[in-house]
Symmetry: D3
Subunit: 168 residues, 6 copies
């Protein structure tokens, strides 16, 4: 039985991006239908409360700290296929990135949509990763020991492999 979303039927035995000889290739999606697909990813950049407050306060005072990270994440999502070698180039129909202060630092959430033959999980994860790198860059003169983590897929809708929602 294979209803576990982590291990879809028949796929668990080998890496689909490598062929039978182990060679990397961009897998053929030409037989997959064009459907509306959406993916959301999250991540966390851990920092001291002082650094976090500096970043969030900058935003409150009309500074560009969060805007810079948001724009970097949006632009990176559009360049996912240029960064991740085996990703398919896709037209994206929507991208949004949100930031929220939490006890450990700043949590980022990215949601990406498309009408294509394959999903946009990598685009959402790339948006989160580059937004986090941009926050790190802007705050690194204040705190070098920040740490980027908890980057993961939170949900995925549309497409033949079924929906996915992170288990709490």
């Amino acid at each position: 039985m294979s209803t576990d979303p982590q291990s879809p039927k028949g796929k668990g035995t080998r890496l689909t991006h490598l062929d039978e000889k182990g060679a990397a290739h961009m897998v053929d999606v030409s037989q997959k239908p064009v459907t509306t697909r959406k993916a959301t990813a999250k991540g966390l950049i851990e920092m001291t409360a002082a650094t976090r407050d500096l970043v969030m306060a900058s935003a409150l005072k009309k500074g560009d700290a969060l805007a810079t990270a948001r724009i970097a994440g949006i632009m990176a999502a559009k360049r996912t296929a240029d960064l991740v070698p085996l990703c398919h180039p896709l037209s994206l129909s929507a991208i949004r990135i949100d930031f929220e202060a939490c006890a450990e630092g700043i949590e980022m959430t990215a949601t990406v949509s498309t009408c294509e033959r394959t999903g946009v999980e990598m685009e959402a994860l790339t948006a989160v990763s580059v937004a986090a790198l941009t926050l790190y860059d802007m705050a690194k003169a204040v705190e070098r020991s920040m740490r980027i983590g908890q980057i993961r897929l939170v949900s995925k809708e549309g497409g033949a492999s079924g929906d996915y929602h992170e288990t709490a």
Copy 2:
């Protein structure tokens, strides 16, 4: 007193990448000396032991799994200034990325060197992040709940702001 490497003298009070009005800018490094600089970053992609073994075994069997992630990380390091808005474009003199299987999954280490007016921390962190995204992409059909984390600067040498070594 401010000998703590995380909080260098006089820098802790504001984000250097924003000016006095809060506007983002690429900070002026033209007065900084050209020196040899090196930075190392680490990160972890957490996955089940089964997925980890699949990835590592593919590499053992001459498959391209780790090579693909390594090349993606190296190419991303070269594109850091194109991804992180306020990073300076730099000539890089060396890049290397290593992978090691551990209990939680696969640990990545990237080391980048340059002879320039500013450091390469962001290049090392970007290399780790994109290598991790590439591993995620290749293994996601097997396990969607992988998680990328612990992305951090491990050490930094050269440059006026002093060396930095992660405290264990």
Copy 3:
């Protein structure tokens, strides 16, 4: 009443690319139909008659002056979504750029077509802008006081928001 094409119904009150909190996002076009769309933009690079004649004569004598600017504009149109942060990545079906000498310098006209869910105004405007920058670059050793201007949308066809034609 709001039939004026410059100020479409209900849109005049806020910037659509910012959400209710002011955060930038790439707006969702997934519900918009795929249709054939075309946009034309114009711009002018002002220069002395001597510089203009040098550029145009170079073209007449088989020199690459206009060809270089034309290729730069065509390639930039294809990279619009990589330059303008909130633009959607699009497949383009045609691009052309024309140059015409006039009293003030050289006028550029770019026309771009697509079959997509959103229009190509930004692609046409980007083509004109980068063609103009390229002419500036090639002629700047002769005249530094050139001036790029009058970059504007001339017409737009296809899509739900209606056609647009510049009023003379």
Copy 4:
């Protein structure tokens, strides 16, 4: 006599970026000294007072309108050699972009510095052009008849060809 900065000695008779047969090439700067260079460019995006107030107010209310355009301009400056075919790839040491509301719309000023063998006029002009395109993109749903103009070099310092300052 040739002290006029627009027409430096011996350069007025042909386009330096084309060889004697008219073929485009990237001119050889290997014999030029590495010096500190700076360039400032300006441009204007004309819009109705209502649109201008919407953009500026968004910025006042912590919206990302100007931040998005500023980041787009900074990133475009770093990609100048990738957009303008005959520009030399350069390490840039500083980039800043400012916006100011004026009667006709919003005026943009970009300043770029480098320590290289050639100047950064094109980088400053490209930053202004792409910042203007980004503002156009964000405000186009409100007003399609905006017009980008007055893009010009305001000043240039450093390098063998002498300083240049726009005459008022």
Copy 5:
């Protein structure tokens, strides 16, 4: 008579990418149907048997030599429209690249698929070219006199202009 696939009817008299005045443009494909298309290209990098054996042996010993060239070719295929000025930007549905040792060196074969309005010959040829350049780069310290050649279209399927198969 003109049923020869190399010289389709009415096309032999001028270059379709130049208009009647000789100006380059991206030809309009908006009236062409979206169909599944595939192209295969081949090329050869000539080298001494010693160099060839070094490259192939490295692959046998789990080294990254061929994997690096394969990834470079796949990523270059996705960037074809960014490299070849008059190519249309396309969504690609599959890319694969194979290497085979032969008497003269190493032969490369790239196959690319799409569901678009135009074919992917240029994507397959670009993949082969950049894979060859990457092999050259990795082996050039051993042998500078390697030679890249025989880059050609082997077959093409789908699209209005008919299938094409290289004649033996």
Copy 6:
């Protein structure tokens, strides 16, 4: 003995771009001196005399055929490190590309210069390759059986590994 330029001392036994475990890395050039370096590469695109005459005549009649290929080659040279995974990003000081009709088709020659810690062979070879791909693209509607070949390094000057000149 090892004065043969093709097989510099001690280098012939392994691929320098792979470490002792076979992992690809960007080799460290930080200890190499900054010197002026130049490289020239050649290549040939074979075509029928009819196609060749069409391309050359287009150029004679002020058409953009050769200019488009030349600009594509120059822009590709600047992007070499973005295409060839283990190439170092470099500032280039000059690039030129020439075309010459010959019995078999059109021969291309690219010369690239730099003042850096490593040479520009790959930049010259990349310029030739992409110029050839662009010619193929423009003439492919006329002749699909063109063939790109004889891409090779012709000469190399500057740098510790010594000059190299192709043996006739």
